[in-house]
Symmetry: C2
């Protein structure tokens, strides 16, 4: 089996994929777009966003056939990027796609690798152990009210996802408290604390749920929504009663640690199959 | 013509309605749920949320037949409200409605007045001069890019509104920057400033638009989305190029002042007819 090529942005996902692949006995080669320390544990190459030629050459030298794109990447200001010769050729298509939204941008990057003969795979294919399973994962179970809020938040997230807006929402007793757009999930959760106290729960009387689900239009080769220990901590601080993700449609980084933390703080974590 | 009864929450809308009605030669009677100073210019009565009996009696004593509900009201914690005898009778229905969302709550309140024999009218009926008209209102016109962002933001707002989430969104170069839920428009605009600089415009190079439109499911007797001078100032600070509202579906408080401010700061304000 050829080494797994990981084009690594920021955050914990690329590292989790590398660990998971290595544990399964597969070699890994990392192209680091940032400068995280974990990459030193693997054969790797550094590259900047404009160095498409360098990236492709490094992947070929490492005999990679499968490539996974993972991790956070700040949306670049294209005029500031230095392009190598290869990048000059592919940039117009990618810049045009970026104008149409995050998802179109990621699809254009995926297509660029495919045209160069690589197979692009999703994080969930490279590291299936990260996928959220169906059912309650820890000791705490959602209440009847929670179930209603979960259903309502899934409706909102999927509708918004269809418009390429975001992957997360918080609903509390039927009231949509926050909806994610460009600010990201952590910032969205944090602003729950700024809402009037009677809108939301407390650490003693938890209520309201965070839901994360992929965009229905999303290419499954691009990052699925992710939760980790920090997501559980953030949700706990603003008084939420738990987190629901789409089973088979979201990644959980550090599953055991996530469940331990949720149990400790009294939150539920549940994977909900997509009925549609 | 009977005096217009105004059940006045906070903010500038109830005052604008009262002024508009008086200018048109109609008497006004205000039931003040807050403690704003402007009400002293009108016959009025103070009441708290649980005093349904007092409110109805005051409206009848003033010979009101038409009632408009206007202004912001913090969603109450129902267990903290002291109920008078009438309120005890209507509370169960209203509390049940509140569980289904803001819009259901407002509809239940409207129905309560209707059952008591009052005609509830929308702010736009009591004060039609506040309604946004179609077309560019000031000197600045939206660019082609702005028009695309406007169309995209209207799609998002109307879709979200159908789910009773919110009435506003910001889109910049095709990217949804922020979507309103329980935090309100001012807070939503303010967080644009926390996004990475390359996502958004600046006061020198404005880009991105704020769109406000009513929820498709919204009872038109409850408040339409509102903009005022402060909305223009807030949008200007975070580098937006302008504001679009649904023509005939949004209220502009202080139209002349809004246009003057927008012209001064270099933003457009446009009313867009709802094609659907």
């Amino acid at each position: 089996m050829s080494p797994l090529g990981i084009i690594a942005g920021g955050g914990d996902l690329p590292k989790a994929i590398a660990e998971s692949a290595r544990e399964a006995g597969r070699e890994v080669f990392v192209v680091a777009l940032g400068a995280d320390a974990w990459i030193n544990a693997y054969p790797h190459e550094h590259a900047s966003l404009g160095e498409a030629g360098k990236v492709l050459k490094a992947l070929r030298s490492a005999h990679c056939e499968d490539v996974v794109l993972a991790g956070k990447l700040a949306r670049p200001k294209f005029s500031d990027i230095k392009l190598d010769a290869k990048a000059v050729l592919v940039a117009p298509r990618i810049i045009a796609a970026a104008r149409k939204g995050d998802d179109a941008l990621l699809r254009a990057v995926v297509e660029t690798f495919e045209r160069e003969g690589f197979r692009t795979v999703g994080a969930q294919d490279a590291a299936p152990g990260l996928l959220a399973e169906a059912g309650v994962m820890g000791r705490v179970k959602p209440s009847g009210d929670d179930e209603e809020d979960i259903a309502s938040a899934f409706r909102i997230v999927r509708t918004l996802g269809g418009l390429d807006v975001g992957q997360a929402a918080v609903v509390c007793e039927g009231l949509p408290l926050a909806v994610e757009a460009a600010e990201g999930t952590d910032a969205m959760i944090a602003r729950i604390a700024t809402l009037p106290a009677h809108f939301r729960g407390t650490e003693k009387h938890r209520k309201g749920v965070l839901v994360k689900a992929p965009k229905p239009i999303q290419d499954r080769k691009t990052d699925l929504p992710v939760i980790g220990v920090q997501t559980v901590k953030n949700a706990a601080v603003v008084g939420l009663s738990g987190i629901a993700v789409e089973a088979g449609g979201a990644l959980i980084l550090g599953k055991r640690a996530v469940i331990l933390e949720a149990d400790k703080l009294g939150l539920f974590v549940v994977g909900v199959p997509h009925a549609g």
